[in-house]
Symmetry: C2
Subunit: 206 residues, 2 copies
């Protein structure tokens, strides 16, 4: 019995993340999702008490998917710079590889909710901070492996990686630019080359 | 009489751009704007035939404001790299300086409409391409002045500037990070330093 409930919740979340990816948070309501998941709105109320509750859960579900298609496979790369390069490559365009119909729900939410206070916005703030913290761990891994200099401003590198990711998102999804992946890779390579060169303190050169 | 009509349209557009800046396109409808501008919905219909029509005009109005607070003042900087640096500095956080209550309406629309086809999305695509073309002109101006190398990939520089701008937007508006301006400036300086260094073809060094 519990299994069936879990399956239903799983089906609702999959339909919800697809809706969120395609239409953004403004397209996600209990009514819209009930229609998409072909169930009654009262059936949905058994799982979510409010639209905020639903939106927050779908944002969390999105990060669970990105953990699976971005973070886990990156961990099989060699520690240090290879792993940092792997997570960047896997991060760009992950929503497409995850089978989502649209772009990254978190990136869209960054801009959609920036000026709209409330618990959903707070969730986005928390998830974005958590993601930056995770990327910082990968950069620090490259420093620990001696691939990037100790004196590197880790937060600055992560900040700039976020910029490349957002530009890639816009180029790929809005502009539909064929060279989005190449441009992102070139930008990232330049960032890493300049980080490695920073203050000429690269440990492997000592 | 015509003057009064112009004034009304001006007042509607100002209220509309403020609404767009704060709530994004999903918050902009004829009903919401009528309430914000304290006029009747039928009064608004004299100016806009549809929600698409309204949203497109408010996106255009946003670019008219950014032309005034970003492009025009940048033109008073010396030609070449100083002018490119000026437009980048003026671009970051322009909506706040323009007195808008929220972030850049075009940046938000890039993410809000990426997967939603229609005439409003097409307007965003066109405005974004026009803006990149304008920035490319500033980069080419720096090349013509001998401040950046001839062999530079201009579109790549513009692409990366866009990334820094989007990261700055997210850092400033969503994260409310106090260091957003400094981070953006550091990223831009690194981009320009690496562009100037590119292939060691900097003309001023010949």
């Amino acid at each position: 019995m519990a299994r069936t409930g879990d399956d239903t919740k799983q089906r609702i979340r999959e339909a919800g993340v697809a809706l969120l990816s395609a239409e953004g948070l403004s397209g996600v309501s209990l009514g819209a999702l009930a229609e998409r998941a072909r169930m009654s709105k009262s059936g949905l109320f058994a799982h979510y008490r409010s639209k905020d509750d639903l939106q927050i859960d779908l944002l969390l579900a999105s990060t669970e998917i990105s953990a699976r298609v971005v973070v886990t496979p990156a961990m099989s790369a060699a520690p240090g710079l290879p792993r940092l390069e792997a997570i960047f490559g896997l991060w760009c365009g992950w929503s497409r590889r995850a089978g989502l119909p649209g772009g990254c729900p978190i990136a869209a939410a960054l801009f959609e909710l920036d000026d709209l206070p409330g618990p959903v916005r707070q969730t986005v703030v928390d998830l974005e901070a958590r993601w930056r913290g995770l990327l910082a761990g990968f950069v620090r891994g490259a420093i620990a492996a001696g691939h990037l200099p100790e004196a590197l401003d880790v937060d600055q590198v992560v900040w700039e990686m976020t910029g490349i990711y957002l530009a890639h998102h816009a180029a790929m999804r809005l502009v539909r630019a064929a060279d989005a992946d190449d441009r992102a890779q070139a930008a990232f390579s330049r960032l890493i080359a300049s980080a490695a060169d920073d203050q000429k303190t690269q440990k492997t050169r000592e």
